[in-house]
Amino acid sequence: MSWSLTLPQALRLTECLFAWSLAIQTIEFLRMRTATGDQGLWAWPLQRRDIPLTRVRRLLDGLFMPQVHQLHLALRLLAAIALFLQGGSLALMAFLFLGNVLILIRWRGAFNGGSDFLTLVVLTGLLMAHALDRWFGAELAIQAGLWYICIQAVTSYFMSGAVKALQPEWRSGRAMTIFLNSAIYGPLPLRHPLRRPAWALLGSWTFIIWECVFPLALVDVTYAVAFCAVAMVFHFLVFWFFGLNRFMWAWMASFPAIIWCAGQPLGAGL
């Protein structure tokens, strides 16, 4: 059984998974109306002082009026549905890209950290795939977009593992227990296995090694599929313990790019 993806298949899968991720995010944003309203914690009248330029601040005052912001989110949801059903176009991707930058500013640069970063990465890759074709041809433009997504996604796993490997608390396994105890769903139960140093040590090193060797996914398509399958389990655990549901969908949208890139001559010759 071959796991290889053709270029059109990889692009289409990326678009569908990304649209799904974007729709989940947008529906959540739409339900945050109270928090972003004028009496909420993220009221624009409180935040507007973050914007250094008066002219830009005035422009954003208009765009971030509660009704306009809600309208933008509703259009974004429709755009995500269109991307899922019909595929991308330059106009659609440009709208989603600019809208995403606005939403990031609305949430002081990021709402959910890493998932925002990877959402922007995939969006940028898809924008490249649709914007560069008039200069370089459709095939090269899509290849550039998929390679961009792949390199950033692989980098994210590698950096995340490498930075942990350099921390003594992670190497001893203590960090995992400490972070899990401070998670949003409350501290670990007293008899939870990850409270035991040996299990915490094993868990920590499993993730550190797996993240650090993630670039090996580019060696072969089968490796890429295996790494992505483990990544899904990893992201599910991150959701289960830390509540970060957006991370799973955001990273999943990068998997077709990783699998396609692994099937290219560069990957095979690595």
Binding site: L46, P52, G114, K164, I184, R195, G269
Partner: protein, 173 residues
């Protein structure tokens, strides 16, 4: 050649974690930081900022009666369906990120500067007001503090107060 460049890329990435360089800062860089992801998640264990608050009402004798300091820290109940829709938890996580940004802004504040000029200070005031109102209803005074807590596997290891706000008189009190 391309393969070698790819290997070199990951070597350089690793080197950037060992050799520290100057941190470039600015308001636009902060707002557009998603364009420059560092991909460091849950990496360092250390002092973590915790927001605590208390409120007071007048008793029959006209004396102010304060509640205990309470931790304003999001705690939610887990459900598998949250994988698809998790508005409340994500708002809680964003709230804690805001507390982290407040701590970061305080650290960057020049000596002698007034913390109340910070956008994050104003947002902390709003967060405290909303939380205290939800937990204790109407009150006449409130106060908050940023407490730095160092946790270990067994629980809290050390803590100190980084900032304590003046007592805030609620409008209409």
């Amino acid at each position: 050649m391309t393969e070698a460049l790819l290997v070199l890329y990951f070597v350089v990435l690793f080197a950037t974690l060992i050799f520290k360089s100057r941190v470039v800062q600015g308001p636009w860089l902060f707002l557009l930081r998603a364009f420059f992801p560092n991909w460091k998640f849950f990496h360092a264990v250390g002092y973590v900022p915790h927001l605590r608050a208390r409120c007071a009402r007048h008793d029959e004798c006209g004396q102010l009666v304060w509640t205990d300091w309470m931790l304003i820290y999001p705690r939610r109940r887990r459900h598998w369906a949250h994988l698809f829709h998790n508005t409340d938890t994500n708002l809680g996580l964003a709230q804690q990120n805001l507390v982290d940004h407040f701590w970061s802004d305080l650290n960057d504040l020049p000596d002698g500067a007034d913390a109340r000029q910070l956008v994050t200070y104003t947002m902390m005031e709003r967060l405290v007001a909303l939380e205290l109102e939800a937990r204790h209803g109407t009150h006449s005074h409130r106060q908050f503090e940023l407490r730095m807590v160092l946790d270990d596997v067994g629980g809290e290891k050390d803590a100190y107060t980084m900032l304590q706000s003046p007592v805030i008189v609620c409008p209409g009190a």
